[in-house]
Each structure stands twice: as C-alpha cells, then as structure tokens.
Symmetry: C2
Subunit: 193 residues, 2 copies
DNA sequence: CCGAGTGAGTAGACACTGTCTACGCGCGGC
DNA sequence: GCCGCGCGTAGACAGTGTCTACTCACTCGG
C-alpha cells in the first residue's frame, strides 16, 4: 500500500486540489472528486457531511499554500521593511495568477459566508504579518487600516487583471508596473533600494 | 394585457433581476426564472440559447443600473473634480453593497471569460468617465493607470467588506473612513470641500 | 473460538439542474 | 381555405448533491 494507507479524507482533498488545478472550479464536483479518488460517490459523506465542507477543506489547503509561499518570499528578501512588503504583495499576486482556480475557490462568497472557513485560521495570520511589516516600514501610519486597504487593492488587482479588464481598460500590459503604482499609493514613494 | 405584451425576452430578464435581488445568485436558475415568468422551462431557449446567455443579459441590466446611479451621483455633486471622483466611488460602493447578488453576477469570472459580456458596452464607459475625472482632478497624473488601480481598490474593498473580512481584520466598522483612505492614497490628500 | 457490534464504503433512489428534440397550436399571407 | 412558421410545451437525458438502506471485513469480549 503506497498511498492508500493515508486516510481517505486526505486523499479526497488531494484529488480535489489536483482536479481544481487541472480543470478549474466548476469541475470540482463531489462525484468527480470521488471518482478520481477511486471511491463511490457516497464515500466522501463519511468525512465531509456536505459538498461545501469538502470545498472548504480544499480551500484551507490553498491558504496554507499561500502562507508557505509568502514565507518563502520573505525569506528570500533581504531588503528593508518596504521591500519586504513589496515581496509579500508580489507573492500574493503571483499565487492568485498561477493558481486561479484555487484563488477563486478561496474567496468564494458562499464559502466565506458560511462560517465554515474561518478567517482566523486562513487569511488572518497573513494579514497580521502584512500589518507588522507596514508598521515597520512607516511607524507613523495607521498600520491596520493601510494593510486592509492595501489588501483590498491587491485582491482587486488580481481579479481584474485575471479577466483582462485592466489590460483592456488601461492599455497597460505590465502587471509589475501596476503593482508598483499600488505600493507607491499606499506606502508613499519608496526609499527602498 | 398590462405586462404580457412586452416581449418574453424582457420579461425573463425582469424576473431574473427580481429573483436575483430576492434570493441571491445561486437561486438564479434557468428553470426558476421560467417558472416565475409563467412559461415552461424550454421557453427561454428561444431567446437565450444557453443559461449563460440569459445571465449575461441580466448582468448587462446591472451595468446599466450602475451607470445610471453613477450619473445621478455626479449630477448631485456640485464640487470640484476630486469631489466628483469621491461621489463616483461612493456610488460604486453603494451599488455593490446594496445589490450584492447583482454585483456578484456582474463580475463572475465565467461570464467575463466567455466574451459574451463585452466590457466595451458595460464597465468601459464608466471607466473612461472615471479616467476623465481623475485627469481633471490631477492633470499631472497618469490618469488611466490611476483610474485602473483605483478601480481595483474599490472592487477589492467592496468584496472584502461584503464578506466582513476587512471588519474582522482591521477592526474598522466605518466603510466611509476606508473609502477616504483609498481616495487619499490614489489622489493625494484632498483639497476637496 | 466465535458471534455481536461497529465503522467504512457501496448502491440506489430522489429531487433538481441545463440541454436537446419532437411535438402542437394559433395566426397571418397567399 | 389552407399552408407555413414563429412561439411555446412536454418529455427525455445526463449529470449533480443529498439521503438511506445495505454489505462486509474486522475487532473485541465472553
């Protein structure tokens, strides 16, 4: 037994992550996940009482991935606090664009609204990390507020960019340039070098 | 015949708008729309070959609504260019929060990606309006880029606020304060009164 | 040693969805 | 007067999420 001794619960989430990356969000069916796991369509119910619960588990995997990526990006960045904020923001955008299906799932309204996917265990740690960096970069700023507004800007940027609205509207073709504009707007012109 | 002499096409869209406002996005079923219109579930197919096509028509209604609201807000605003940008942004946020289902539908990835809902007829006119106001407010700015980034910020703000992420993360309970922060970030400290 | 209990997964039903196709019905033009 | 045809109906089909009844291997207490 090379794989099948890991619990079915984990295997379902694994299959879901794969399927999500391969086929997109609308393909993330309960039955298809069960099929890919090699199990009947009623089996997941033993571990996830509802489809939404399984989706939430998959989304949590995504948040863990994002946090890991952010940590790696910060480890690579040796500059000052502002450069670290830029690295974090870059990692966030990168994640959203490289794993669009997962990002979409993570911020689905019905997942968030059903209190299943608690923000506390997911985006909040990353958010407080951002808040800390901003406080370090600019001690005079209202860090939580700036962090919140910056987060909103990154989120909107990722979405509008992904479905090419911003490219069409602004004519801009370089996302990094827009990101720099965002950082300047919220952190002021950078002394980072 | 008070209503039934308007074409079925329009009646379907009307019923869809109502249903969307009353029950939310996931209730916006082809069959339910047909039911509420008083026709069989196959009838819509005569006008909308697919469910997505009908949803796109409903979303277009939403964009028209949003544009109308924006125009009214600008008509009410007698201040300078910056105040007009603020009025436009406020109307945008108001719309997103008062009609969450419609806003969600308007920015559904699969609608936008399926080229059916052309940005040209929908959000682009509003966007160029915003660009013009920004150019007037700050002649030195790269107006399209600032407009794009500001739009992204408004979009992100609307979404994160709606599912209460920002409230939880920042502790802020006043959306207008966050909006002011956004405007200051992208337009500079306001001379607006 | 063995039989009861139990936990995990199966199989099928149900109501619902979107799509497709065959069918009528009523009305206007020749 | 009849034909055609646009418009809507009715039913079938595959697929979905949920629920329930069942099987079956495995453990554990006597």
């Amino acid at each position: 037994m090379t794989e099948s001794d890991t619990s079915l619960r984990d295997r379902l989430v694994d299959a879901g992550v794969e399927l999500l990356a391969a086929e997109g969000l609308q393909a993330l069916t309960l039955r298809e996940i069960a099929r890919r796991t090699g199990v009947s369509h009623g089996a997941p119910r033993r571990y996830f009482p509802t489809h939404l619960e399984l989706l939430s588990a998959i989304a949590r995997r995504g948040f863990a991935d994002l946090a890991e990526r952010a940590r790696q990006a910060l480890d690579r960045e040796t500059g000052g606090a502002r450069a670290r904020v830029a690295a974090l923001a870059g990692a966030y955008l990168e994640f959203a664009l490289e794993q669009p299906g997962m990002y979409e799932l993570m911020f689905r309204h019905d997942l968030l609204e059903s209190g299943r996917l608690g923000l506390r265990e997911t985006s909040l740690p990353l958010f407080s990390l951002l808040t800390g960096l901003i406080a370090a970069a600019d001690p005079g700023a209202d860090a939580p507020r700036v962090a919140g507004v910056l987060w909103a800007n990154l989120h909107g940027l990722a979405q509008l960019w992904r479905w090419r609205s911003l490219q069409l509207a602004t004519g801009e073709e370089d996302l990094a340039a827009l990101l720099e504009t965002v950082l300047v707007a919220h952190l002021g012109p950078g002394g980072g070098r």
